[in-house]
């Protein structure tokens, strides 16, 4: 067992699960999407990205790319939230929530891709 692989897989999968947890629910209902979940998903996603730094394999490069996509989507979602609450002060209207959740949905796709590739790589290693 390789501890590095464990931690790596842990964060990759955790990024997916947290992201999914935030995403699930009615798309325009603010009660179904909690800000803490978005926060946790963003932080874990950032950590997962940094863990992929410096991997010189081809797979490592693609994993880094998908991870960066997830970060970007979640960051934009967080910025939209902050802008709606504090700057334009429109509050969490249905349309704002819908756009935040759909952005996190994009991140979810990227995270699924990461996990699928991780599983594929693991399946190839017969040790």
């Amino acid at each position: 067992m390789n501890l590095e692989k464990v931690i790596f897989a842990f964060f990759t999968v955790l990024a997916l699960t947290l992201n999914f947890g935030f995403f699930i629910g009615q798309i325009d209902n603010p009660d179904h999407h909690h800000v803490y979940e978005l926060y946790a998903a963003l932080i874990v996603s950032l950590i997962a990205t940094v863990m992929k730094f410096g991997d010189r394999t081809h797979l490592g490069a693609v994993l880094l790319a998908t991870s960066l996509v997830a970060d970007l989507q979640l960051l934009v979602a967080a910025v939209v939230w902050g802008v709606a609450e504090h700057i334009t002060e429109t509050g969490l209207t249905a349309s704002v929530v819908a756009s935040i959740v759909s952005l996190s949905g994009g991140a979810l796709l990227a995270n699924i891709t990461s996990v699928v590739m991780l599983v594929m790589e693991t399946a190839q290693v017969r040790r």
Partner: protein
Amino acid sequence: MAVTHPVTNNAIHMLLRRMRAPLITVIIIYSIAILGFVLIPGMDAEGKPWRMSFFHAFYFVSFMGSTIGFGELPYPFTNGQRLWTLFSIYGTVVAWLYAIGSMLTVIQDTSFRRVINRNSFDRAVRRIKEPFYLICGYGDTGNLLIRALAKRGIRCVVIDIEQECIDALELEDKGIDIPGLCADASDPDNLIIAGLKRPQCTGVIALTNIDHINLSISISSKRLVKNMRVISRVETHDAEANMASFGTDYTINAYDTFATYLATAIHSPSKHLLYDWMTSGSNAPLTEPIMPPHGKWVLCGYGRFGKALRKNLLLEDIDPIIVELDPEGTHAPRTVISGRGTEASTLHDAGIENAVGVIAGTNNDTNNLSIIMTALDINRDLFTVARQNKSMNDHLYELSDINLIMQRANIIARKISTLIMTPMLDDFLRLLSLRDNQWANILVSRISGLTGELSPHLWSVRINNQESPALIQYLKESPHIVVGDLLRDPRKRENKLDCLVLLLKQQTKEILVPDITAGLHEHDELLICGQQYSEQRVRWIQTDYNVLSYVKTGIDRPSGTLWRWLAKTTQA
């Protein structure tokens, strides 16, 4: 996609890999601090309970980490919030120190620096758009050679295994940018990074002091790039034969070169003088002829240098008395005197009292100086020759009363810069050695008449479309141009330029110092020596049709079409 740069990628990967742990630490500590501020209840201005949103928390933590003391925003904190701020301050500051500290460590890391240096070297080589030479080894020889080349504006790239040498290269200002890399030149990859495969690379010069490294540089250069010009320094005859076997263009053995040089001087001072003037570079003060006498010579030290000298002296019918500390190990002839030569008794045994010259040829500079001083004490009239091994002893050698100093670095550097800058000079010197003394004497007086106090400036002229368009055009119309036409002053054709054609190379023959009536044809090459200003004048004649027709006929040809038409109609 452009060609990938493995070197560039390396540096970034290395930085990212080393920064993983510190970055994760920063993210975790930030996230905990932010979460804490969101969870801990606060109070607004009216005393109502209020909670920070993530937006406010992120804002506060961001400036707290870097500029503690900005104030409690947006409302004064409760004590619970202050307690959390205390923890967060220490946490974030430590995390930042850790992250910045490890980044600085990576940047200062020698392996990282090496990657970065390689990177910038790679870019510098790519930026060179002119032809350049790849020089392996930057010692005394490399330094002299690069200085000579830089003076002529010829670009170089340097590889040396010692970082100190590369540092010295960077410190010394040579007027043009010379990229240097600290790397092992026997590794072909390093040669490629240094631009071996680039079309601008015109030649490889192997100057390291180890024969087998020079050998591997020559082999890889010849293997990797067909027809690459390779010039290499060699120390032994074995390596020389080996290099010649796979087509190294020039091998230069400093001992042999010097030995022939000394033998030429004994045989014909004029030829030696010509050789000296031609290879000393433009505008150096003219050297006086040296006259090593015929007679009995004492040669101290029978190593590679001693052997080369004895061989060449025997050709001049001089059998030197050899003084050597280790006669068996060096296979010295039977007449050898055993000893170091630094003590008077050995020199007495060798018969220094009635000798005409002494050669101090050991590989130790102090011993060589001691030999010369002891020998001069016994016999004031000796002609002295000393081998100098290290350039740092320049001063000591200059102060001693030595007629001829053999500096290995100087000999190799001179020879190579001659080969590079005026390749025809090699042909000239070869032809010169076949002529007699009388002929050489006349040439010496002709050249010194032209240039006065300074050594002659040398350049070559090719009669082809790139270099002499006017000549080619003229040759098409009236096929009779002679050497003398090129040597007239374009300002006043009755005056002659202060220069002399040393060699005319035609397709079938080579003419040494051609007569001014010798005809010129397309593809001919000339080697000219003279004063520096005359090179520009000759280039003017080569390229400007009107100037050429003036020096040829004395008639100023009208240059505009209208004037030409007018001239034609008035003539008719």
